[in-house]
């Protein structure tokens, strides 16, 4: 009966490494002054894949809370449910608006889209809002991050 516990441990470990990667990429994407515009756009494309994997690995939680959307939920769970939905919406809009105002990455792939300043403005505004929301999201899961970081990275009990 040791297999299920071992599988759960490696999944938690994988989730931790993935979440740290998502965090590092997210911070890099949000430092365009450091990376330059081209770096910012290319790193953003790279960010999309681990972000999607992060969502997939948390699918069971999402299904369990969404199936109880009209039922009573603990306050923290309800908050996370609503906040994460908003976060997903914001992330989608930031990625979409960023893609359609791409000035370096898409042209390098021979994809030329006429840049609409409206979407550039939306991208900047929503990206800043996303940073604020991300701070809250990190806090809500801070204990999980810290305890598993200690367990799997620092390897203390």
């Amino acid at each position: 009966m040791q297999q299920p516990a071992k599988k759960s441990t490696s999944l938690t470990q994988f989730k931790l490494i993935l979440d740290l990667l998502v965090l590092a990429l997210f911070i890099t994407v949000n430092a365009p002054q450091l990376t330059g515009l081209a770096g910012h756009e290319w790193v953003s494309f790279v960010f999309a894949a681990p972000f999607l994997v992060h969502l997939i690995l948390n699918w069971k939680w999402i299904v369990s809370v969404m199936s109880r959307i009209f039922k009573k939920l603990p306050g923290e769970t309800r908050f996370n449910q609503i906040w994460d939905m908003l976060l997903f919406t914001m992330m989608t809009l930031v990625i979409f608006s960023g893609t359609i105002v791409s000035e370096k990455a898409l042209p390098a792939l021979n994809i030329h889209i006429e840049i609409d300043p409206f979407w550039r403005s939306i991208h900047t505004t929503f990206a800043n809002l996303l940073l604020l929301m991300f701070g809250v999201h990190i806090t809500m899961h801070w204990k999980w991050l810290v305890s598993n970081f200690r367990r799997y990275v620092l390897q203390t009990n």
Partner: protein, 90 residues
Amino acid sequence: MNTFKEYILPALIYILVATLIIFAVQFMDQASWAAAMRATAAATPLEIGDAPATFVEFLTSLAISTARMTFLIGIPFAITSTILKRTQRP
């Protein structure tokens, strides 16, 4: 079947939901306030240029990015932590 149910199906659902969100917001740029935003943004030069070329530029950019992220992530973090400490049962 498990791989499909646990990984591929969720990915497809996320992509579908994202597509619906994108479709819904397409109409935003036709709104009356969008014209004003468009005019302002068109007149505003792009903030981001090339990557820093010198060490001094790199340090300046690093300082700006660090300050921006400390402010935009750190303040919500601090506020949320304080609220959680007060509302969570010991």
